[in-house]
Symmetry: C4
């Protein structure tokens, strides 16, 4: 069971490289097994080129590693806080992908400027406030998780599957590690096009809400008809 | 006959990936057989990596799939409206390629800023109006096709082989799926350079019309002399 | 002799693809044999993927093709005018490489903003005036060559080995097809960084002339000491 | 011993190509053996494609090459001045990587706009003053080294492992050639995101100093806990 999860988390970590979402060791994917409460996560500072499936670290709910001797990602507490607070998610991706990070560094949400955005995210992708000096000193990584949950503000985590951590970069999630990876790819593509649109036309072009909503609903709503297998799809 | 068309449509779909015009599953190519009135199109939401020639879906003029069990692209009605209204076209490509989508999101036509543009498109590449809320609710995909035809405004579809759907992205076409793909590649390259030109020199540099016209004519006019095999070419 | 030239021109044409200087069929390389007065050039509109060494077209000084049945590049007359007027050059590259084309479309010279530029080009890379309507109508391709020569204004073609043709794109040259290709790669890299510098700091930062001159001279001057084999180098 | 150093310097030079930090021959890596006072460095003007391990040139403290017949990089004196003045460094990388060069051409330091920057660099990456005309004439490459040391102003070279040489490009260093390469990769990624952030939000968003400091310290401070093997790490 956990071997299978490690394998999937490993593959999703390699997906970060394949989709050009990471430089050097700057990023990580985790997967969560709700039954045992165990999380599989990338080891800290290990290069993606050398990463093996067996290097993925298993930790318990307190973040204590077991089974292998590698240290888990330094962002481990952030991931655990998100799994605890975001109901039903099973995978988390953190990257420094360039355009999403640019928005995080500008402390700006990614505005919903078109249907590509709406295909993936219901509304603008929010950015956190700055952490206070106390929050950084007390427990930086845990408080990173808390401010992401605070920023989400009770929204369904599947309607808004990403938050930008101000000054740092994006955290994305999904039902599985694979879905979280897909959302991270979508986020970067959407951020890149938002950046380019704002450069071409400051403020954007106010795409009507009913058009954005139509796109979100046809892919994720109760009567979604995009793709081959969807709930409510009996064609 | 239809097996051959499916094969060609499949290859053109893979061309979207090769030429970096799509992320994830965001795009599709179709081909049309005017004799039978049947269209071959990418199945909805299937990843390009897993896509096989046999997965391409055949639909009739009403958009009903036959022969295999996959659902056709959610943009099927848009394609059918275009085949019905644009005389002589045999292939359609829809992508979210970054720069063309940036212009669509800014609701700006792509201006003809140089001869590369004029080699492919006769005049600026137009952008549609926003669809109304009623049009979105009634039949979104079909009305997408109608507003593209409306935007083309009676122009020869071979003189203007692309329209930007406002807020969404480009639709391109050609005599065949291969030609539609080529036009989609050209559109993205032209959009990218237009974006960069406008950033360097707001408003651009007013390339004379006779220079643009010369380029369009030497490639597509009655006395075209570019390339190896052209009508009116008896060298 | 000419077989060898065709082979070299063919390889340099493939270099355009390798170094991402062309999309589709938009670009060409030629080589010139001063003894016979014959030029080897890419055939018109042939895809780089399918291009074979034997497809390279040999033409005489009047631009008449001999030896194979393919039509030479539509830019053939431009190349011939340059070989006739620029003393000692033996290779020419024309591309629509994105950033050099962006400057051509903005009808702006590429300013010498740093030492990378000065390593390759002595002063700003000039842009032509617009061709007049008469020049376009009378003999477009030949007049393209003439306006490039006019823009160079008697400069040594080895001190300024590129000119931007306004609204169209760059033409580069060198002693050989290989050197012309290298200059085209350098031009695109330099244009890209000039574009980014102007976006970051409008007007640039006035790099001192003596610094630029030092770089040009250490690579190309009579006492050049860059590289392994240089005239005036007796180490 | 020196054969091993040549091998490592060769591999790090190839890393420049792999990580897209160089065009043509524009860049070089060196390694220094503090015991013998010998430096291994890329030969001048040799293409990376043809570069072999045995081509790496060994020079003494005066920059005189021995052991093989290739001329060392024209930047040899710059490297030697840095090894002499920056205590403990064992590898140097010089590139013309696009975004770091853009900042150098704009004569602007790279501001610390986010935690990715702070993960690698303690404070903004400084840019040198212009060299004077005398400095360029007297000994350009040696004075390049001196102005870099001057710009560093007594800072620990491991807290600020890069300086932009105004008008030219970045010099990076580390304990080893491999670490210098890693810092050059990080610098380019950080410069690219700083460029994009400033385009999106002129002036940036003033990321709090305590947040930047936290990131630098968790990776490089006495109690660093990032990665698998760090001093002060006894987990």
């Amino acid at each position: 069971m956990m071997t299978k999860l490690k394998e999937r988390v490993w593959k999703a970590n390699l997906g970060l490289v394949k989709h050009e979402l990471v430089f050097l060791t700057w990023g990580n994917v985790s997967g969560f097994d709700r039954e045992s409460g165990h999380m599989a996560i990338k080891p800290s500072g290990v290069s993606f080129e050398e990463l093996q499936s067996r290097d993925i670290v298993l930790v318990d709910k307190q973040g204590c590693a077991f089974e292998n001797r590698l240290k888990p990602s330094s962002d481990t507490s952030t991931h655990l806080v998100l799994y605890e607070n975001l109901n039903g998610i099973g995978g988390i991706v953190h990257t420094h992908s360039p355009y999403a990070t640019i928005f995080a560094q500008a402390k700006m949400p990614i505005p919903a400027l078109g249907t590509t955005h709406a295909d993936c995210f219901s509304g603008e992708v929010p950015v956190t406030r700055w952490l206070t000096e106390d929050e950084v000193r007390e427990d930086y990584e845990e408080n990173t998780g808390h401010v992401i949950v605070e920023t989400l503000g009770g929204h369904d985590p599947f309607e808004m599957c990403a938050v930008l951590f101000a000054g740092h970069g994006p955290f994305c999630w999904g039902r599985t590690p694979e879905e979280a990876l897909e959302n991270a790819i979508a986020l970067e593509a959407v951020a890149r096009m938002a950046w380019g649109t704002l450069a071409l036309k400051p403020g954007g072009a106010s795409c009507p809400g009913y058009l954005l909503d139509k796109h979100y609903q046809r892919k994720h709503g109760p009567d979604a008809y995009y793709g081959q297998i969807k709930k409510g799809d009996d064609q």
